[in-house]
Symmetry: C2
Subunit: 195 residues, 2 copies
DNA sequence: CGCCGATATTCTAGTACTAGAATAGTCTGG
DNA sequence: CCAGACTATTCTAGTACTAGAATATCGGCG
């Protein structure tokens, strides 16, 4: 990780702080409230860790706690001038940069021959079902977002688009596998390395 | 990582070894030769590390080096019976399991307001260009694969499908952003946390 | 022989991340 | 004024992964 660049997780938090200064716990709540767990890999346990890193890099700074805290005192962070600059630059780069696609599905597909054909069919069927379910869930979530800026819909739309495309591909592939002449090869257990 | 499950990287290597026993260096070559860097995250420096892990878990075992090696002696690994079982089970799971989609693009999109509108447009344009280029490259790679089993094409087709869908979405989104009434909000620098 | 280039593996020293437990303060009810 | 619930942060002890340098071995060539 070149030190000049932000990881996706760092950019997410920094962006949230540019929007409005917040404290760690609150970040976790916002991430949940906006359904961001769908497009973000941030777990609760990393938030403070990431915050510390951003702070050490001088991209965010602690702000004097305003008003009375309920419960333990909070550390409220806001972006520094440098933080704002880096956030804008990184967001721009994230939008432009293309990354390889490697979902586990591809790895599974690459290992088709070791899966008994009927089990492969079943697994693909389960995937299709999960996909349909998820598409419905995201579509619902998109319309249920109450107080988020409009452009957030674009994110849901993107996810929906990718999922829908996968569903199409899956359907076509399942049909192809089911076709008579096209039985895929299947490796039955053969020789093995000495234990 | 629950110890019963393989990471995508581990599954990839294990699958290659189930196909045919190989040594570390050879794995690297095969991954390259098949264009697997597109759908795999395995760097050269992790191969021996992963191999050691698989070996320690009893999924692969060293096989007596056959014939004469050129250069330093090789350690050739093949799958154990357990390894074959786990490979099949994991491949099946990988095919069925749906994972959240979170490419950096989404994070960038979530931070749209901090990007000056003209730069956002430019970044999206660069993405579109990169996408077109990549689609062409993968299409070419798919047809250029010489000695790989047929089902490998399915993998390229999947990648192509996702990329094409993204391209469509991108085009639509760019048009929408360019439309007159739809100027996105843009946060200009405001107050900042104390340095 | 002694060195080079190719092949192949191992080692060193990190970075990034994570789960979950521990801690700390503040508020409420009894 | 103390027990417990709630809010919030920090600490501990790991796992997974990576880059790149170091090492080992063989064959060939001058």
């Amino acid at each position: 990780m070149p030190s000049g660049d932000l990881t996706p997780a760092e950019l997410t938090l920094l962006g949230l702080l540019v929007e409005k200064p917040r404290h760690g716990y609150e970040l976790d709540e916002v991430i949940d409230a906006r359904g961001m767990r769908e497009w973000t890999e941030i777990g609760f346990s990393s938030i403070y860790y990431l915050l510390a890193r951003l702070r050490d890099r001088g991209l965010i700074a602690e702000i004097e706690p305003t008003g009375t805290a309920r419960g333990r005192a909070r550390r409220v962070y806001g972006p520094t001038a440098e933080g704002r600059r880096v956030c804008a630059r990184s967001a721009e780069a994230a939008v432009a940069e293309l990354r390889p696609v490697f979902p586990p599905l591809l790895i599974g597909l690459a290992n088709q021959p070791v899966i008994p054909p009927d089990r492969l069919q079943a697994a693909l069927a389960r995937r299709a079902a999960a996909l349909a379910e998820r598409i419905a869930a995201i579509a619902a979530a998109r319309d249920a977002q109450p107080d988020v800026p409009d452009f957030v819909h674009a994110i849901f739309d993107y996810a929906l688009n990718q999922l829908a495309a996968e569903h199409q591909w899956l359907t076509a592939y399942r049909t192809k596998l089911a076709a008579p002449g096209t039985a895929p090869p299947h490796h039955s257990p053969a020789q093995e390395g000495r234990a």
